[in-house]
């Protein structure tokens, strides 16, 4: 997997999306917030816009698409001004693709008719290679002749994504494209999204409230709450913070990048190395030397003062306490731990924190009960 992590560099040569919006939804709408954002997002890769429902993430996406007229707005996408004080391109003049949450296929056209609708209006020639590639990546060749109502929810979303790609956008906006699907359909589509990410060099803004999707797909994230951006950066940075004004509840956890260094055939385990040490995970089909992304949930991390040799937990890391904070319930604490250059979070009871007298700077052993390879 050849993917670089772009930085939030304001160098003019860098690809960058700069969005500044002040927008109050019409009073009739159920959201009672004012969208007030000023963000610079990397103009490559997938950026997840993450937050609870009503946090303003869909409004932000709609402002970027020009579907909402913001009270004040500035938008510059990789050097092109889409909106500022003087100009505001209407949606149909913005070179973007948009995948809506629920099925948005035109019911009076077949699946292929929907794709042609986009191709005809892309303003560019659709090369047969590109067309074949899109059809292939989304796996939709067998269903092109069907009408939308003959397709499953997952198939409809794959057609909708293909349609958005065939408009040949400079920016792809996806508004919770999996939210309307059940769990099985969601699992069916995720691999297509991963392939999309790996195959097309289009920056994607991906709105989601599902941590598992974000962990799996995104390179960067923007976390929103009550219409404002509360954190942004790489996944590893943002989700290892415990000082944010919002909590991720049971899903609190970090995402680390590691490398497969050993496959143990006898015990069906894979050893993954990262800067803070090594982790054993259940054997998957990951190749040796392959770069993988793992997720460690805070609730699966426990702490000990000495190395517990007689524990069933395989993964033990030497860590340094860097920060303590309250969790959303009165019983629990979040503890940020440094392991090598990376951070993990432990979610333990406040009673344990008091009993072990854990404080910043302590060197402890973290026992990690479960590690999930997400990609």
């Amino acid at each position: 997997m050849n993917r670089s992590m772009p930085t939030n560099n304001t160098n003019h040569n860098d690809k960058l999306i700069h969005a500044r919006f002040l927008f109050t939804p019409p009073s009739a709408s159920p959201q009672a917030f004012t969208l007030d954002v000023d963000i610079k997002i990397p103009g490559t890769g997938i950026t997840a816009i993450f937050g609870d429902s009503g946090s303003g993430k869909t409004s932000l996406l709609r402002c970027i698409a020009g579907l909402e007229s913001a009270d004040k707005g500035e938008l510059c996408v990789n050097g092109d001004i889409w909106q500022d004080a003087q100009t505001c391109l209407p949606t149909h003049k913005r070179p973007l693709g948009y995948v809506f949450q629920e099925s948005s296929l035109f019911p009076h056209l077949t699946a292929l008719g929907n794709l042609k609708y986009a191709m005809k209006r892309s303003g560019k020639v659709t090369s047969p290679d590109f067309y074949e590639h899109v059809i292939d990546i989304m796996g939709i060749a067998p269903i092109l002749s069907r009408n939308p109502h003959q397709l499953s929810g997952g198939e409809r979303q794959r057609i909708a994504i293909a349609r958005a790609l065939l408009i040949q956008p400079q920016l792809l906006l996806m508004d919770e494209p999996l939210a309307s699907l059940d769990f099985a359909r969601k699992l069916e589509i995720l691999p297509y999204l991963e392939r999309l990410h790996a195959s097309f060099n289009i920056p994607i803004l991906y709105v989601s409230h599902a941590m598992d999707e974000v962990a799996r797909l995104a390179d960067h994230t923007v976390v929103m709450a009550q219409g404002k951006v509360v954190a942004q950066g790489s996944l590893a940075d943002v989700f290892s913070r415990i000082d944010l004004p919002i909590r991720f509840h049971e899903e609190t956890g970090v995402i680390l990048q590691g490398k497969v260094v050993e496959r143990d055939k006898q015990w069906h385990l894979t050893r993954i190395a990262f800067s803070g040490g090594e982790l054993w995970v259940a054997d998957g089909d990951d190749e040796l030397d392959q770069s993988v992304r793992v997720r460690i949930l805070a609730r699966d991390v426990s702490l000990a003062l000495s190395c517990p040799d007689n524990s069933s937990v395989l993964n033990r890391l030497r860590v340094e306490v860097t920060e303590l904070n309250d969790d959303d319930t009165a019983a629990m604490s979040l503890i940020r731990l440094k392991a090598g250059d990376e951070y993990i979070i432990a979610r333990v009871t406040r009673k344990s924190v008091a009993r072990l007298a854990i404080k910043t700077g302590d060197l402890l052993w973290a026992q990690i009960k479960s590690v999930a390879v997400v990609r």
């Binding site: 579907l67 149909h92 019911p107 986009a118 408009i167």
Partner: protein
């Protein structure tokens, strides 16, 4: 059924009138319906009420005011005279204008309902696919709201064929110019020519029945209702 030449002239005139009115109404009724379906303005209520007024007013009231407006001393009359067009009452054009007002709700409401049922989302989707406003109308609104437009055209046509009061007020009874079928039947009855009246009246009954039958059949196959009243 034996139709006299006068009867056939009346039938032909009626068809001409209904066709012209339907075409005019589809052209001017569509933007009105579009506006009513999508506006948030406080004017929506008053404009809706104005459009629907012919449903509750006696045709004589509408006809009376149109007659005044289009007459030699009315505002419209002054305008048409200054343009060298003479006055409109007792002409085919005057009849078209009066009928457009009278049949307006039957065309506007089905289209309005269809556009409201469509919602904003398909238009947003089309906009994200680079379709401009006209493109969106012709490639998304028109095909998706087609049943509403067809219903509107059928109702507008049928209702114009069936009008009497407004015709009498504005058009009078000029053969080949304003004497439509409904007026012709009235004349036959006045002259005690019941046989002639029967032929035309029965034709009208059959016409209305089959038009409404077609409409209901169409609605069933479309599976949607875009009509509030009328049929």
């Amino acid at each position: 059924m034996n139709f006299s030449n006068a009867d056939i002239a009346a039938i032909w005139l009626t068809l001409q009138l209904a066709t012209t009115v339907t075409v005019v109404l589809l052209i001017i009724g569509t933007p009105i319906a579009w506006w009513l379906a999508r506006t948030q303005s406080w004017l929506k209520g008053p404009v809706s009420a104005l459009v629907a007024m012919p449903l509750v007013l006696p045709p004589t009231v509408l006809g009376f005011y149109l007659l005044l407006a289009m007459g030699p001393n009315g505002a419209v009359g002054q305008l048409t005279q200054s343009l060298g067009l003479g006055t409109l009452p007792f002409t085919f054009s005057g009849l078209v204008i009066a009928s457009v007002f009278y049949s307006m709700p039957f065309v506007v409401q089905p289209i309005q309902n269809a556009i409201e049922a469509l919602g904003n989302r398909p238009l947003e989707v089309a906009a994200t696919l680079r379709a401009g406003p006209w493109d969106r109308f012709f490639t998304v609104v028109l095909p998706m709201a087609k049943p509403g437009f067809i219903t509107a055209a059928i109702l507008g046509f049928a209702h114009t064929v069936g009008e009497f009061g407004v015709v009498l007020m504005i058009g009078g009874n000029i053969p080949g110019e304003t004497r439509v079928v409904s007026v012709q039947i009235y004349d036959h009855v006045e002259a005690l020519e019941y046989g002639q009246a029967h032929s035309l009246a029965l034709s009208m009954m059959a016409f209305s029945f089959f038009v409404l039958l077609a409409l209901y059949g169409f609605r069933r196959t479309q599976g949607t209702s875009h009509m509030k009243y009328g049929a």
